[in-house]
């Protein structure tokens, strides 16, 4: 788990490349590339991430684009603008959030519905 201080990409900063680690990451600036965390990723309102994200939890208040895989949960706040595919056991979307893409979750349908879906 994240034991250290969270890592902050400030609003005037931009990083391109691969970010991986065990610390929480807060993005107020811009990240392009790949983010792989065993902890939480927070994209603030000013933040913009264009990356494949493989994290424990992701919270989006700004802009995100890419493949998102969250081991625990993905939260799209009302200000979020997200394009991409999200896979997570729990996904929360607030009213006002904009999302375009696919959502992949385990859906346990009642037995009366014949197994549909992909």
């Amino acid at each position: 788990m994240a034991s250290d201080e969270p890592c902050l990409i400030a609003s005037k900063s931009a990083i391109r490349g691969q970010i991986s680690g065990k610390q929480d990451l807060i993005v107020e600036g811009r990240v392009e590339g790949h983010i792989s965390l065993e902890s939480n990723l927070t994209i603030e309102e000013s933040g913009s991430v264009e990356a494949d994200m493989d994290v424990d939890q992701v919270t989006v208040k700004g802009e995100a684009r890419g493949e998102v895989v969250a081991a625990r949960s993905a939260v799209l706040h009302a200000t979020a603008r997200v394009a991409g595919n999200i896979r997570a056991p729990q996904i929360i979307i607030e009213d006002g959030a904009k999302f375009s893409g696919t959502i992949e979750m385990e859906v346990e349908l009642p037995a009366s519905i014949k197994a549909g879906g992909a």
Binding site: A14, E63, I92, S100, I103, A115, A118
Partner: protein, 199 residues
């Protein structure tokens, strides 16, 4: 029963097509197709296996089918939903389970695609066959084809036009990298390119 709102009771099952210009609450089961200008509420324990074209949709139960909502979709914590979804507003509570493609942009195109697909399907007979949900990618492709059937596709120009500014304005403050076509192109899924090109 004073206000006579439309309720499909928990021990009622409808197979076929339901149309209307009022709110509809489903506690039982509907298989087929629902077209409603107002709010469709699928209660906990209810099952709807149908293509939906509604104003608002509130789901606490199970829904399988293509969803077009001209106003909003709310997936409450007990919702179990499989199918492509088009709506300008979508909220999802913790606990809600959903699988499918979400389009919060062009509802008219999504509706056109959904209805053209409905026309292709044979009319609802006495016993509508239980229909597996349509493949998701195919549905989107269809929606895009439907809107942009006549527009020339320019694959070469596509990569350079992949900027987030089209649908999601990038914040002004962080410096942007010059776009390297190869790197960003490879990273942006094919559908996203299409999507942006469309706008």
């Amino acid at each position: 029963m004073a206000d006579k709102e439309t309720v499909i009771g928990s021990d009622t099952r409808i197979s076929g097509e339901v149309r209307g210009e009022e709110d509809l609450v489903v506690r039982g089961r509907i298989d087929g197709k629902i077209q409603l200008t107002q709010t469709l509420t699928v209660e906990k324990g209810a099952t709807v296996q149908a293509d939906l074209d509604v104003g608002h949709l509130v789901v606490l139960g199970a829904v399988v089918g293509t969803i077009v909502a001209s106003e909003s979709v709310k997936l409450m914590s007990t919702a179990r939903v499989v199918g492509d979804l088009a709506s300008p507003r979508l909220t999802m509570e913790a606990g809600a389970a959903y699988r499918g493609r979400v389009d919060m942009g062009d509802i008219a195109a999504a509706r056109a695609a959904a209805s053209s697909r409905a026309v292709q399907r044979p009319a609802v007979s006495e016993k509508p066959a239980i229909r597996p949900a349509p493949p998701r990618m195919a549905t989107l492709a269809k929606a895009i084809v439907a809107t942009k059937a006549s527009a020339p596709v320019a694959p070469a120009a596509a990569r350079s036009t992949v900027t987030p500014s089209a649908s999601v304005p990038a914040p002004a403050s962080p410096p942007a990298f010059p776009r390297v076509a190869g790197a960003m192109g490879a990273m942006t899924p094919a559908w996203a390119k299409k999507k942006i090109r469309r706008r």
